[in-house]
Amino acid sequence: MSESVPIVRGGDPSATASQLPGPFPVGVYAGRLRAQLRGFTRVQLTGEVFGFSRSRVRIYFELRDAQGAIQCSMWRDEFEALAVPLTDGLEVVVGGGCDYYVGNATSSPSFHFAVAELRIAGEGDLLAELARRRRRLLQDGLFEPQQRLARPSLPHTIGVVCGEHSKARDDILAGLRRRGWQGRLVWAFAPVQDRRAAPAIAAALRELAACGEIEVVIVARGGGSLADLYAFCDEALCRTVALLRVPVISSVGHHTDHTLIDDVAAVCCSTPTHAAEVAVPLDVTAARVRLAGDARRLRDHGHRALVVRARTLAALSRAPAQQLDRQRRRLHQLTRELRAGSRRQLQRSDAAVDGAARALARVSVRGAGADAGARRRDLERLALALGAHDPQRTLSRGYALVTDRDGLALGSADAARASRSLTLRFHDGAVDAEVPER
């Protein structure tokens, strides 16, 4: 082996030689690499089987998880002795170490993990892996972003990721019916079990969020074993959910199951029905009744504010008219009282005149004596003078006394015209009369 051969770069003979050791024949180097790799500690690995195939003497598959993958191979006779039904998507635990096929002039080299032991991952293995993934998500702060998103109480459009013919689909519809919600439901059907599930669910979620109209997404699947639900523990899926800008409500498995997507979702529900009710927190039927009540109360307040004040204003505007009306009634009352008082006074005067005449007559009889004749004459004169003032005498001479219907004397044509209804008293009786309108 030559210790040092100058490398000519770009055909330039003046270029300086590399300071690296070599060049070595590649086969020698490949052999040393294989020895080095085989010297690595033998370990167990766990992951999902992908690209399982068989050749005449060996089987091949990739072991994958969210962080990486490694090519694995196993002697076929050893594999068949295990009788493990290996299929893509299966979570397995393999034991072995690194190896390197150095290739030759006609075949390509390849790296692989040489599997000496292989078993299907048990629940303990899955739980241990789940705990590791959960720790990583927690360390990256991916449990909170979804919980910080605001969720509408009355979404118009809801996205749902579930199996196309799953019972979860019917349960979600039942939950939405219970809320009285009849908006727009966008179904993103996806496989919910096996190795295709997690990428398909993640893609569906990304597409729903990209639509821009979806306000909340439900991811739902019925119950199953941890292995059945393991797609919902996929780290890449969970990272997608955590960073989505649309709130995700998860309902995976039964209430005793807890998958990784439950940790990163905005809300985790025990059943798809419950998830639907959480997606629409508002009972639409009850909200409609309540809103109608609020609208009625507002209308009543508006009505009262105007009508009550309008009534008060109207009452105030009527006040001057009412005051005038009161004064008018009072005036009429006083007028009636005045007329009645005048009538009574007249009657009292008549009675007084009659009494005086009678007294004079009695005195004239008692006073008959020496100068009885003179006194009688005086008395007769006085009686005549008094009689001259008796209205009845005036009436006897053909005059008439004009009064209104209440008996109040009317002393002028104006008073008669004002009264309109008159009584004409003659010496022998009274006659009612009307003053015609002009």
Binding site: W181, F189, L208, C211, A287, L291, L298
Partner: protein, 76 residues
């Protein structure tokens, strides 16, 4: 708080909360005529908004697949 800060988006629950606040104020009887009329007008606007929101989810359930929605959006 900056004057340029946008007002928070109106939501059904925020509108209902404001309507109830308005009704409490009106029920108290402390509001004068001008305030009453202003509050009633604001309340009516909010009730109309809420009624529209309820109407939007009361027209019958509309189901469609994601690819149908995507096609509709692309057709716009």
């Amino acid at each position: 708080m900056s004057g340029d800060e946008p007002a928070p988006a109106r939501t059904y629950e925020s509108a209902v909360a404001r309507v109830e606040e308005i009704i409490r104020r009106l029920d108290s009887g402390d509001a004068g005529l001008r305030e009453t009329l202003d509050l009633v007008a604001e309340g009516r606007g909010l009730v109309e908004y809420c009624a529209g929101e309820l109407e939007a989810v009361s027209q019958g359930l509309q189901e469609l697949r994601l690819d149908e929605l995507v096609a509709r959006l692309e057709a716009r």
